[in-house]
């Protein structure tokens, strides 16, 4: 199966910019009847410091921007997905935003059963088929569900930059990353990060080592949960003991545990994920090198915007470094510590990634 990151980014990204040209309705005159948007979280819950949270941010932004009505429903278990979606159907919600690949099947089924219900799903597209689906028609292509927009992110491009930056900034010659669980949406960060470091070594003939992930073997460090911040702390402590001084935690709130350790001991720097931790976790700004941005909020906001403006389309939208859907955050506190040339190199790499002359897989030799 093609992974979303490997899919050719279709025209949608353009679509997301296009409407900017068309006149947006001023927030003062709310369109009547008021548009209803409902988000269904996965098990992580709305406060997962990760994609549920940032999706919700997108909804809230839209609420303030367009005066729409936005709600969320937390799922506590698998069987809640269908139930929560159904709840929104009953309430006559205009756009249902489901978060996470675990909601894929239920989203697809609902979409098929209710062809004019607009839906969007974060971190998922529909390459997979399910029993009862007509292969090639309902699934197995990118475009199979006209009323569902799959929001995918080429996160590895951003974490590639982060990796390069980390390699450039490390004093000990060792950088580290770990995940919550070995699942694609997590490992794609780690993969890009390793690639970035590797690329740096290629360029500079250095030998910066990445702890906690190895794309070749697919082995790495995982806390096996997204709850226990204490585990995050232990991971950081362990990495530091093994000599790492920059850490990219890809485990939602667990990462804050690592941040806490770095802040307390001052022995390491953290690279945030998903949102810019400078805003979401300001208490750690003085050990925050940068963040790998995965702008789910923007994606969700755009989708809602399209709904509001009546040009919602289904299919897959892959957000890339090109359209700024993924990126790395400013260096904030560390702006002075990052050398001008490193900044320049990062810009160059960014450009190369955009024009495709440089690809993550290419670096990893795949």
């Amino acid at each position: 199966q093609p992974k979303p990151v490997e899919q050719p980014a279709p025209a949608e990204p353009a679509a997301t910019e296009a409407p900017a040209a068309t006149e947006a309705p001023a927030p003062t005159e709310p369109p009547a009847p008021v548009i209803k948007v409902g988000q269904v979280t996965d098990m992580g819950g709305i406060d997962d410091k990760s994609f549920n949270a940032s999706a919700w941010k997108g909804v809230q932004d839209a609420v303030t921007e367009f005066g729409i009505e936005g709600k969320y429903l937390e799922s506590q278990q698998q069987s809640d997905y269908a139930k929560n979606i159904q709840q929104y159907l009953d309430e006559g919600t205009d756009l249902i935003v489901t978060v996470g690949f675990l909601l894929g099947v239920d989203t697809a089924k609902t979409a098929l059963a209710n062809p004019d219900q607009k839906m969007a799903i974060v971190d998922y597209t529909f390459p997979d088929c399910w029993p009862g689906a007509e292969v090639g028609v309902q699934c197995g292509t990118d475009q199979e569900l006209p009323n569902v927009r799959g929001l995918a992110f080429q996160t590895d491009q951003a974490s590639f930059l982060a990796g390069y930056l980390a390699a450039g900034m490390t004093k000990s010659g060792k950088v580290a990353t770990y995940g919550g669980l070995p699942i694609p949406t997590v490992t794609i960060f780690m993969k890009g990060f390793e690639a970035g470091v590797k690329y740096y070594n290629q360029q500079k003939g250095t030998n910066v080592e990445v702890l906690g992930w190895n794309t070749a073997t697919g082995e790495g460090s995982f806390t096996n949960n997204f709850e226990s911040l204490d585990d995050g702390r232990a991971q950081a402590e362990s990495f530091v003991q093994e000599g790492a001084d920059i850490i990219l935690p890809v485990a939602g709130p667990v990462g804050l545990g690592s941040a806490a350790y770095c802040k307390e001991t001052g022995s390491c720097l953290i690279i945030g994920v998903d949102a810019d931790w400078y805003d979401t976790a300001p208490e750690y700004k003085d050990i925050l090198l940068t963040s790998v941005l995965k702008k789910i909020d923007v994606a969700v906001f755009d989708t809602i915007k399209d709904v509001v403006e009546g040009n919602f389309t289904g299919g897959t939208v892959v957000y890339t470094i090109a359209d700024g859907g993924v990126d790395i955050a400013p260096f904030h506190e560390f702006d002075d510590d990052v050398s001008a040339e490193l900044k320049a190199e990062l810009e160059a790499i960014k450009a190369a990634l955009i024009d495709g002359s440089l690809t993550v897989d290419g670096v990893l030799g795949q």
Binding site: F222, N224, E227, S228, Q241
Partner: protein
């Protein structure tokens, strides 16, 4: 005559079995670990913490294959000797073998690489702290015959309470106090239910757990997550290195470079041991746990003893809860205790209901846990989720092999009717 060869005959069967088991373990060790290695390969173990400015020790560099052979031989020898002569204390036997196995595993995993041994041991103690505190809570209250499996819940509530107050008051110490008090409060509720109303003790514990999970998550998602920096940002206790002691190689960084809560935990272990076995209070506590009626007939107030012990236990658990926030990450998130309370109970049981034992077994967990983390970093070709099972499997093995017959206080879990 008959009696003698009898008393030797019966155990000897067991001995043979154990002996063979050991030989098998030795065999397995060589089968698993030797193949992967190359001659001349070495494994390097760091004996210093970058953070500690102690007298620097040289790193310990071991020849992989030789050391593996040695370890395997030790195990095999133990097996053979046990079969022939028989080794008195099963504890020692198990200890040595376990050590050899773990050492072999470490050396194998570290072959051609390096690993910070001290680092691992340090984190073992830190990781053991909440477990030990939970276990100590269990010990003190079960010595008075009150089972408390609500520890997990108590810790959750204490964690949240302490971080919120600490954030609001900008004082970690106030936070700590409140954490401990909240622990005492919930424990008092438990005591009230099981003593005054004779509620089944396990039931009350389960109820407390469910209730605590609900309440903390409820408040968390309703308030903490939204005013994060006002309510949920306490910072953590700094690491205090004890002047001279922390300079001792190996021991220093492990025991004398920790934060307040870790120190408190170690102090409580010692104090509780002394109190239980060398003071009237301890004597009465144990009597109440073993034979409450006897204590009663001697004019000891059974109910009072139980109330106090359970509440003190709650305070200790409260401290354990505060560890997760004030002692570790400075913020609260839903169900962040992640089952440590239950593991603490396991530690208490195979610590045989006494403080030192509970502490030691907590260390075993802590070790298994940090070992698991290190193994992942060393990219051992075992899936992380499988490695993640280590602490739990260790528990089961120890429970089964060593203290399957652990004897709880005689009246443990039973309400006392006059």
């Amino acid at each position: 005559m008959a009696a003698e060869n009898l008393s030797t005959k019966i155990p000897s069967r067991k001995r043979i079995a154990t002996g063979i088991a050991l030989l098998v373990i030795g065999l397995l060790m060589s089968v698993f670990f030797l193949p992967g290695t190359e001659t001349g390969q070495t494994a390097t173990f760091g004996l210093n913490l970058s953070s500690s400015a102690a007298i620097l020790l040289p790193d310990m560099t071991l020849p992989v294959q030789t050391s593996l052979y040695v370890l395997v031989l030790i195990v095999v020898f133990m097996g053979a000797y046990h079969m022939a002569r028989g080794i008195r204390s099963p504890g020692a036997l198990f200890g040595v073998v376990a050590f050899c196995f773990v050492a072999a595993f470490l050396i194998w995993a570290t072959r051609g690489r390096s690993l910070s041994l001290i680092g691992m041991l340090t984190s073992s103690l830190v990781r053991a702290t909440p477990i030990a505190l939970a276990a100590l809570c269990g010990v003190i209250s079960e010595r008075a015959a009150v089972v408390n499996i609500g520890i997990e819940g108590i810790m959750l509530i204490a964690a949240e309470a302490s971080v919120v107050t600490a954030s609001l008051s900008d004082s970690l110490y106030i936070g700590l106090m409140v954490g401990i008090l909240s622990g005492a409060l919930i424990a008092a509720l438990h005591a009230w239910l099981v003593i005054r109303f004779k509620v089944d003790q396990i039931v009350s514990g389960v109820a407390i757990n469910i209730f605590a999970t609900g309440t903390t998550s409820f408040l968390s998602s309703k308030y903490l997550q939204h005013q994060s920096d006002l309510l949920n940002n306490s910072g953590t206790f700094p690491i205090i290195s004890i002047p001279l002691l922390s300079k001792i190689p190996i021991i220093g960084p492990i025991f004398f470079e920790n934060n307040l809560i870790v120190y408190l935990m170690m102090i409580i272990v010692i104090v509780m041991h002394i109190v239980l076995y060398y003071t009237p209070w301890g004597l009465r506590t144990r009597a109440v746990g073993e034979h409450p009626k006897a204590a009663d007939t001697l004019g000891i107030n059974v109910y009072l003893m139980r109330y106090v012990n359970v509440i003190v236990g709650g305070m200790i658990a409260g401290l354990g809860g505060a560890y997760f926030t004030l002692g570790s990450v400075g913020r609260f998130d839903e169900v962040m205790t992640a089952g440590k309370g239950f593991i603490g109970l396991a530690a208490m049981i195979f610590g045989n209901w006494n403080p030192l034992g509970a502490f030691t077994s907590s260390l075993i967990f802590g070790f298994a846990d940090s070992l698991q983390v290190k193994m992942q970093i060393l990219k051992v070709p075992i899936p992380s989720s499988i490695l993640g099972m280590a602490p739990y499997i260790v528990t089961m093995i120890v429970l089964t092999g060593l203290v399957g017959q652990a004897i709880p206080p005689a009246a443990d879990g039973q309400p006392y009717e006059k």
